[in-house]
Symmetry: C2
DNA sequence: GTCTATAGGTGGATAGAC
DNA sequence: GTCTATCCACCTATAGAC
């Protein structure tokens, strides 16, 4: 028996805001636009989140926590090879890239980094550090198990992976070449042979 | 005998605007701020560039043309090896990254791509296509001359190089790791052995 | 929890004096 | 070419009724 659940206004505001940032960035979006897309009025948005900064911080916190859970789950499932774990990591990049207009939430915010309120800068910084160290962990595991063969340090290679994936989404959208992220992932995987 | 030349207001506006975009992006900067940094008033800026869109377009056109000249010069100097040509290409990325607060002009604009006026979107798109095809050319030359050894297609590898360099600048600034761009370049160069 | 009304500020852009 | 003054649209945010 599936209980019908209405998505709460609170969550719909978060969804709409995240979508807008991934599409257009931080500075160019406004309460009025969010309100319009949610289907309420501007002061109702502010009732749930007292400031733009607080709203966007909540979006990034939720985003970080989504990935934190997903990445922990991947790391802990010992039946997965290191390559399978990496393939799972690539999926959201491929998915968001295929839409053609969106990039990673934190990639979008990082593009305007110096224009962001400090509390948001901090969250974005943590996102990249989390992903950097998760990638380092998977690459190290694959190297130790002789599954991967590379001469770089795992830390430098993780930097290459993270930077390339983030950059590929940005360049793909701007250049209009919809194969960009796929091509980059192929190039990254060839570093592991 | 060096003739003293005052930098014209016109060019100082372009310089200040470019600097601001590389630091903070497109949407969050304003005529007032540009005027303040140039040392004139807002309507004086608008006297030189009739709209924000026209001003930023002029900045991107100048930026593209700077790189267009530099890259042509590198390609045409036949005394340079393909690796030396690549090393020249890396220099501006290393330089801008070392400042800690700036990224590529077009990388910054691409992060807000969907928020940009169409005429600016077009310029940014051309920047990435120019750089993609220049990299493709150098990589092809190095492969044909047996200087480089890689199994990817030159096109896919060029995508990896461009995406990784752009992404590395963004992630470096946001994560606060000042070695990021260097680490990524090391990883890229190892693809050529 | 949602609304109307509004405050106070800043945005891009214009008119017109010097 | 630079300025003061001004316009109007839009921004974040608040007060207070329902």
């Amino acid at each position: 028996m599936s209980k019908e659940m209405k998505i709460k206004t609170f969550d719909r505001i978060l969804d709409v805001t995240q979508d807008l940032i991934q599409t257009r960035g931080y500075s160019s979006i406004s309460f009025s636009e969010i309100a319009l897309l949610v289907g309420i009025k501007k002061p109702s948005v502010i009732h749930h989140f007292p400031s733009k900064s607080a709203l966007v911080k909540a979006v990034v916190v939720r985003y970080r926590s989504f990935f934190s859970n997903a990445l922990n789950q991947i790391s802990e499932s010992k039946d997965k090879t290191a390559l399978q774990a990496l393939e799972f990591y690539f999926i959201p990049y491929i998915d968001v890239g295929s839409l053609g207009q969106k990039i990673c939430l934190c990639g979008a915010l990082a593009g305007e980094f110096t224009a962001l309120p400090q509390e948001i800068q901090n969250e974005v910084r943590l996102f990249f550090r989390d992903h950097q160290s998760w990638l380092e962990g998977i690459l190290t595991r694959g190297k130790n198990s002789k599954e991967f063969h590379f001469d770089d340090s795992p830390s430098k290679l993780a930097a290459l992976f993270l930077g390339a994936l983030q950059g590929a989404l940005v360049v793909q959208r701007a250049s209009g070449n919809l194969n960009y992220i796929q091509d980059v992932i192929i190039g990254l995987k060839m570093k592991l042979l």
